[in-house]
């Protein structure tokens, strides 16, 4: 990388040629104010707040867009620059109706901060006397046009990060407005409610309905963790205040998602209305009654201790930590020699022993084959990566049913029977990537194998921690008929009803480890209350095999405990020495997954 020497505010700096003045200044610890610029988005130079003086240039220059060359002499806070910035801020404050005392972003607003920094204490230009519209048609957040500064961050985020292209900036001059599609309400638009635009908006224009007015950022704690909704494993931050989860943010440093989340990761967990189970329950005289942990575990341990290994069955949800799966395997399969174990969701066919690609390969590819998987539905952030690649000219071939969510973006849509054709096309590409899922039948899978060595392969697993569950042998097919004692690790999984017990004899003893009350827990003899995503630490394995940490942000509700902790306590009750610290468990679990 060629380095050049420049001078900023008299300070000599050496930086890579071609990076922007803003980046060079940031690297040297010099703060140039910005508004429309965002590290995750390409610069557009819309707001002009970042203007600086560059020797030899006729006018002031926007630092966020100007690439550096050798010998540049730059002033970032000269009187001329400050005057220009004040003028720009005066105009920005007059362009819409900014009344900070009514705004939920007050204290965290980038525009307000600039106002303070440059002493904007009154309106120089008249403001609007009429209000701009507010669009509250979306479920999770609203658009308050009165506070929009037309920086276009939201539009760029929607277009380039999510590749959803819902947002646009219509008209021009004073009539400019952010709109959705061909000026639909946001609720009726093509928006997928990923909330990426919400996260990048520098002002109070895009407003989260749930966390608005619940406190400033400095009053909150941020805990980095991994989303446990699907197998992509997006990095995110849980924002809490006083022990309550306020909102979820995408983590810009996220290895897989780079800051983007989907509706299921960002919003849905905060709107879960299911009833929590807050204490262990034991069936007595036909009714489930609260008990303490000791009693409940005792009952389970006793039952398991007496039972014949052949009559015990274990069913696990994939939405549990590596540590829980490790202990479940260790306790039941290894110690108690239980062979009848199963997973609540299907796993993708295993093509190769070793991983042959990662999600990062999607964006490097020129042809993407999606076979028997629907990431739009099941792994939304992976679908964003695919759509981003299509935007850049990558060819998408969908081999799946008519209703596949990626079909509208595909250059070719083929039925399973034509897999051969797809394989042929991918074979001619430079960097093909194959994304396959549970929908791919064996014949198709074998056809895909022809591309080994040529293509990158990524299984798009259903569920969350399916990859780890498979590694621990939980996806072997479960035979309900022989089961007289069932340990069901249901966790917080939704959408699993009593049909999970189909085929299990009437008198069977059923232990359910679950977070929420459901018709299924109603059937149990013992219910062990489990902590949910925000209340437990541990790790998850994503669909590529990447092991990522999850961290507890708030205390478990009632007496609920982390998934692995419950199994560890149960083992202890059965006098099996599995107990270890979380770190140790994580290390052992990870070893098994690799």
């Amino acid at each position: 990388m060629e380095m050049v020497n420049i001078t900023i505010n008299g300070q000599k700096i050496s930086a890579p040629a071609g990076i922007t003045i803003l980046k060079a200044a940031q690297q040297a610890g010099i703060d140039i104010p910005t508004l429309c610029n965002h590290p995750a988005l390409s610069p557009t130079g819309a707001c002009r707040v970042c203007v600086v003086e560059v020797e030899g240039q006729r006018t002031l220059i926007t630092a966020c867009t100007f690439p550096i060359t050798d010998g540049l002499v730059i002033q970032t806070e000269s009187p001329q620059v400050v005057k220009a910035r004040k003028f720009i801020l005066d105009m920005l404050f007059s362009e819409r109706n900014h009344f900070c005392m009514y705004c939920q972003m007050s204290g965290d607003c980038e525009l307000q901060n600039l106002g303070y920094r440059y002493g904007i204490d009154h309106w120089v230009f008249p403001t609007y006397t009429k209000g701009f519209p507010v669009d509250a048609t979306r479920k999770y957040f609203l658009m308050e046009h009165n506070r929009c500064v037309l920086c276009g961050r939201c539009e760029r985020a929607c277009g380039t990060l999510v590749a959803n292209h819902t947002l646009g900036l219509r008209n021009r001059g004073a009539k400019s407005m952010i709109h959705a599609d061909a000026n639909l309400t946001f609720g009726d638009s093509s928006c997928v409610s990923c909330g990426t635009c919400l996260q990048v908006c520098p002002t109070g224009a895009l407003c989260d309905k749930r966390s608005a007015f619940m406190g400033r950022d400095e009053q909150t704690q941020h805990v980095k963790t991994t989303c446990s909704h699907c197998s992509v494993g997006c990095a995110m931050e849980i924002v809490t205040r006083g022990g309550n989860v306020m909102k979820i943010l995408g983590d810009w440093d996220g290895a897989v998602n780079g800051g983007v989340l989907c509706q299921h990761g960002r919003f849905d967990p905060l709107y879960d209305e299911r009833t929590r189970i807050t204490s262990p329950l034991i069936r007595q005289k036909g009714k489930l009654v609260p008990a303490n942990w000791d009693e409940a575990l005792q009952v389970v341990a006793k039952r398991l201790g007496k039972a014949d290994a052949k009559s015990i069955g274990v069913l696990a949800s994939s939405n549990v930590t590596n540590e829980a799966l490790y202990l479940l395997d260790k306790l039941f399969s290894k110690e108690m020699k239980v062979a009848n174990v199963g997973l609540l969701n299907r796993a993708a066919p295993r093509l190769f022993e070793k991983p042959q690609g990662s999600l990062a390969d999607i964006e490097k590819s020129d042809v993407i084959l999606v076979v028997g998987a629907d990431p739009v539905k099941d792994q939304p952030v992976a679908s964003f990566l695919v759509k981003r690649t299509v935007d850049r000219g990558g060819r998408l071939i969908v081999v799946d049913g008519e209703d596949n969510g990626l079909a509208p973006f595909a250059y070719m849509h083929l039925p399973m029977a034509d897999t051969g054709k797809a394989v042929e096309i991918a074979g001619r590409a430079n960097n093909p990537v194959i994304l396959y899922g549970t929908g791919a039948p064996e014949k198709t899978v074998n056809a895909l194998k022809k591309l080994q060595g040529k293509a990158a392969f990524v299984a798009l697993e259903q569920g969350t921690n399916t990859r780890a569950a498979v590694a621990f042998g939980f996806a072997n097919g479960f035979k309900p008929s022989a089961v007289k004692t069932l340990f069901l690790l249901l966790g917080e999984q939704d959408g699993i009803g009593v049909e999970a017990l189909e085929g299990i004899g009437k008198g069977a003893f059923i232990v359910v480890q679950a977070s929420f009350a459901s018709p299924l827990t109603e059937q149990a003899d013992v219910v062990l209350p489990m902590a949910i995503w925000s209340e437990r630490s541990g790790s998850l394995t994503n669909t590529e095999g990447r092991v990522q940490k999850v961290s507890k942000a708030v205390e478990p509700e009632g007496e609920a405990k982390a998934d692995w902790e419950i199994i560890s306590l149960l083992a202890e009750k059965m006098d099996k020495k599995l107990g270890a610290s979380l770190e140790e468990l994580s290390a052992r679990a990870t070893q098994n997954i690799k």
């Binding site: 292209h165 819902t166 947002l167 646009g168 219509r170 021009r172 061909a182």
Partner: protein, 155 residues
């Protein structure tokens, strides 16, 4: 059904004329506007699908330029010049009169879809001020009393 088909067909031909080139979007929209005298919403969605350009982007272009209209327009466009020379010569009276006679305000289209009334800045023939242009024909040195007769000729 029939109407939609012919509309799609016409737009398809226009796109073909430009080899579906995304960078020719403005030219394509201009041709569509010429064909239908405005940009019907369905044509925008159609172009979006056919050319793989997000609808929101097409909408940005269609609203950025004054030349494009998203509302149906009359058979004839009346452009009243309000440039400096025409303004000095009393062009605002012309627009007042037209608004009154046609019962619409500037920018709108008459109910019978005959006329769309528009203000423009300088038609480039200031020596003829005040002027209006109807469907491309320049009418020079106007007084408002002459307007009804001129409009009748276009009906």
């Amino acid at each position: 059904m029939k109407k939609a088909q012919t509309m799609d067909k016409k737009v398809k031909d226009i796109i073909k004329k430009y080899y579906g080139d995304k960078t020719a979007m403005i030219a394509i929209l201009q041709d569509v506007q010429e064909e239908f005298r405005y940009l019907p919403k369905e044509t925008l969605s159609f172009i979006s699908k056919k050319m793989d350009v997000p609808l929101t982007r097409i909408y940005e272009i269609a609203t950025f330029y004054n030349a494009f209209s998203l509302k149906p327009r009359g058979k004839h466009t009346i452009e009243v010049c309000l440039g400096t020379a025409c303004h000095v010569q009393g062009a605002s009276r012309l627009i007042d009169r037209l608004e009154r006679d046609l019962s619409i305000s500037s920018g709108d289209t008459t109910k019978d879809k005959m006329f769309t009334l528009e203000e423009v800045r300088c038609l480039g023939c200031c020596s003829l001020a005040p002027v209006i242009r109807i469907s491309g024909n320049v009418h020079p040195y106007l007084t408002q009393d002459e307007l009804p007769k001129i409009l009748r000729n276009y009906k």
